[in-house]
Amino acid sequence: MVITAAVLAILIRMIRLPTIVAYLLAGLALGPMTGLIEISPAIDLISELGIVLLLFLVGLELNFGQIKAVGKVAVFAGLGQVALSGLLGFLVSLALGFDFPQAAFLAIDLTFSSTVVVVKMLSDQHALETFHGRIAIGILLIQDIVVIVVLTVLAGIADGGSMAWNVVVKEVAEALGGMLLLLGGVLAAAKWLLPRPFAWASPMPGTLFIWSLGWCFLVVTAAHLAHLSIELGAFFAGFSLAQLPYNRDLQHRIKPLMNFFIAIFFVALGVKMAPDVLDTTLMMQVLMLSAVVLISKPLIIQWLVRANGFDARTGFHAGLSLAQISEFSFILTGMGVSAGLVAPRMLALVTLTGMVTIGVSTSLILMREQLYQFANGRGWLGKTSAQPIDTEDHEKRSGHIIVVGMNTLGRQIATRLHERGEEVLAIDTDPRKLQNLPSRTLLGNVEYHDVLEEEGLRRAKLVVSALQIEATNDLLAYRCREAGIRCSVVAVDLSVMENLLELDVAWVMLPKIDVVRAQTAALRTHGLLGEKSP
């Protein structure tokens, strides 16, 4: 499974398509087409883990300030989009000849977007913290709340239970109440319970990492017990930890873990997606519905976001991000088929529409900036009085100096360069070592690729490592060479010099040799060199 995904990912990369498409194709290839893979409980577990970690990562990226900035527009656009997309989907389905119940199902299926796909794409493009990224996530969260209501109603119907309004309202209220309780609980924990233990654990990155996962699964378990989705639990867990100062370091550590598990999720999705019925009518319906989703959703969201005072670019990118249907739609339709509410053929219709919209939308997201320029250049986006506010290109640092390893040498370098007016970023894995530094600081491990990339390695003036760790210095020197940036590192002893010079290190610091002159000077100062007094 992994090998096929990797091979396809390499090939897909050559034609500049997103890796999600590769994973889906791998799933299709390995699934019913060849019969090589069947979805086992272990694969289901790994897939589920992928979603949990993805939403956990999303939560880690957000903090109160960011939520506050986009909360109002997310609620307005989210609810508005659900209503408008639902109505449009219902009307189109009726026009295509579906009866009332099936049209209603299709309307719901087409309304929701895929949290997993959107977040993965935004994360890959380092766009989670942009306004359009946060708005997209906000809308997805609102959709998740609506999903709770829908699932509650549908579960009631599927179980043959009472459809009385009071019962429905009671169950929805219980679900929403549980959600608010859980959110309140994790936020209270973030304020009063977590800070001290996590501060104690923070000098040991491994402990911090495992504790954060432990916390995630504790909240996920609580969500499960409260009959809420585990994705919501994972998101809340991440959000609570986002209020602590270690969130960025945790993001870098969680991401590789998430990447592995989410790859399995998408491959498994591809396996499940393969339909067992295909005919011309079905294909036409798929194309129609896909077109409705791919065109109307971005337009609706863009209009709603701009109505809240955001600029055209933010609205465009937010809308484009959400132009697909959710994998939840497969689950929903499956429930409908099991309850006898819709024909089995509907599952194939929804599955194929999902494949098309996810595949196309991920490619569109990859080209979003070019598409925006194209549309804006032709005046299709209209005029707006709103100022451009998307922070994607904001604060792009350049000409700065990155200093890694805040031992005494590193601190001296960071402090003195800062005093000389240089823009300095000091990095260390131990938060205690970053205290009381005048320059900007970052808690992180430079062995993680993203740490330096996000801090503008390729635009830096110089990278300095005061670390006395041979392996990390070698890696740092290699990365700087690949990025074309000068670097200076400490050599733990002379035996590593050859390697460092091969890596084009501009200046090698040799404390053990540089100290000789100072020792001689100290001896003179103390009158220990020269003739001995009688």
């Binding site: 432990g214 733990v492 610091m509």
Partner: protein, 516 residues
């Protein structure tokens, strides 16, 4: 998902306990897993077994990635002798004790091998925490560990077929060699080409790495070998620089995750059937804790290490390897071991790992050093007066000696590295071989008759000892951290900061090149 949540809960508690009491995480997780399982709170056996296998594959894979022979190229002979010697002799001792405890031949062989190798996970962490990874004895120990891992993988492959006879064992050994040759070819030619040509991003690199893992797992399965042989060789394939460095960052969190799950889940598989199991584990632990240091000290000294370095290496290597657990699982799977015997192996592993942080300390080293036969030979006074005493020759020794000789001083060097002593003797620099913190040796070198002492010792704690020993003789001590500087000054020494010196030169370079 519930089973995963249970194991993560165990891991969360375990990591906290380990940090609080400064114990090896692996041992704490193992014991917690046993405890939780004993009271019925652990993961169910089937889930635990699946997670153990998955965790094992990643752990062994990660070990293979670190197996870069370049790391110990300059100490190959020492590494070979110590690694093989320890493995053979401690293994024999373990086998003997197991037979004495009435174990049958096959379980006794398993127990012998389980005692033979040391734990890469525990020792590497210990070395990193004490910042001794790149000192000569640290490199020796790392080389020994990696070689022993390779030996253990081979042993596991062979023992799995013990009941099938020599031909089957030979066939499997041949298959392992074939897979190893494939790994070497990929390591030398294909992976460097892939890295240069594809220039993979983070996500793709992770996928490629994991693809190799699954490819080798599949190949091992097809060749009828235990899956860990495939995992180890897959890791070795990727151990070429810069891939191993790039992967360390990517796989670090995966490795940590599976490390936690592996040991927590493994504890759930341990059957604590009787007190007798504990006694047996205690006996095997004694073999490891007492036998390994003695054997390693003798071998390391014979190969040119100083007494102190040899003792430190011996104490550091005195625990059972996590691969012993793998060996046990394979034995249980092959029907050659029963669960109580596996429990003995697991408990031995846990006990010896737990003891490591208490054993591998300066106090223990000094206690043994004082009883070392070579140490008790005090020798006479070397006859130097008004001289400069240089403790630790290191990289800068020649420059120091030249500067002092230029000032008209006689210099006497103390160093524990045999190669340094040979070099000094060739350069006609008076020298004594030994530990620069050894008071008897310092007296012999005339510390109280010297004009001053230059202490260029690798460890701050050693520098402080010298400053105290020196009494009225001025000690110019090389320090790195500001805290060390303050401590030396307070003790009456003259600290000279190497970080300050390096910083000054860096600044000169920075200003001269006016980096833009």
């Amino acid at each position: 998902m519930n089973q995963l949540a249970i194991l993560l809960a165990i891991a969360t508690i375990g990591y906290g306990l380990a940090k609080w009491r400064r114990l090896p995480v692996a041992a704490v997780l193992l014991l917690l897993g046993i405890l939780f399982s004993a009271v019925g709170w652990g993961a169910d056996r089937e889930s635990a077994r699946q997670l153990v296998e998955l965790g094992l594959a990643f752990l062994v894979f990660n070990t293979g990635i670190e197996l870069n022979p370049r790391r110990f190229l300059h100490q190959t002979r020492q590494v070979l002798w110590v690694a093989f010697g320890q493995f053979l002799l401690v293994g024999l001792a373990g086998f003997g004790v197991a037979r004495w405890m009435q174990f049958d031949w096959t379980p006794a062989i398993y127990l012998g091998f389980a005692a033979a190798a040391s734990s890469t996970l525990v020792v590497i962490r210990q070395l990193k925490n004490q910042q001794q990874m790149f000192q000569p004895f640290g490199r020796l120990v790392t080389g020994v560990l990696l070689l022993q891992d390779a030996i253990m993988i081979t042993v596991i492959v062979l023992l799995a077929r013990l009941d099938d006879g020599w031909l089957a064992m030979g066939t499997d050994f041949g298959a392992l060699l074939l897979l190893a040759v494939g790994a070497i070819l990929l390591h030398l030619f294909v992976l460097p080409w892939m890295e240069r040509t594809l220039r993979p991003n983070e996500e793709l690199l992770l996928l490629i790495a994991l693809s190799f893992l699954f490819l080798f797992l599949g190949a091992a399965y097809w060749l009828g070998l235990p899956f860990i042989a495939g995992a180890f060789l897959a890791g070795f394939t990727l151990s070429v620089f810069p891939l191993n460095g790039l992967l360390r960052g990517l796989l670090g969190s995966l490795a940590e995750f599976f490390h936690a799950l592996f040991f927590a889940a493994l504890g759930s598989l341990v059957v604590f059937s009787s007190f007798w199991v504990l006694l047996q584990a205690g006996a095997m632990s004694l073999v490891v804790l007492a036998g390994t240091p003695i054997i390693v000290i003798i071998l390391a000294e014979w190969q040119g290490q100083s007494a102190r370095n040899a003792i430190e290496s011996g104490l550091l290597l005195a625990q059972s390897s996590e691969l012993a657990l793998v060996l046990g699982l394979v034995g249980v799977g092959a029907g050659q071991l029963d669960h109580p015997t596996f429990s003995v192996m697991a408990l031995t592993c846990a006990i010896t790992m737990m003891v490591t942080p208490f054993l591998a300390t300066d106090q223990a080293t000094w206690a043994l050093l004082h009883r070392h036969p070579g140490h008790r030979r005090s020798g006479g006074f070397a006859g130097f007066e008004d001289h400069a005493l240089l403790l630790g020759f290191g990289s800068a020794g020649m420059w120091v000696v030249k500067a002092l000789r230029k000032a008209g001083l006689r210099v006497l060097v103390i160093d524990d590295d045999a190669a340094v002593i040979t070099h000094c003797e060739r350069s006609r620099i008076p020298c004594l071989r030994g530990d620069g913190t050894d008071l008897q040796l310092l007296r012999r070198a005339g510390i109280h008759e010297a004009r001053f002492v230059i202490a260029n010792l690798p460890r701050p704690i050693d520098t402080m000892k010298v400053v105290r020993h020196a009494e009225r003789t001025p000690v110019v001590a090389r320090v790195f951290e500001a805290s060390e500087e303050a401590a030396v000054r307070e003790a009456g020494g003259i600290p000279v900061s190497s970080s300050q010196a390096a910083f000054q030169k860096f600044l000169d370079w920075f200003e001269k090149t006016q980096v833009r």
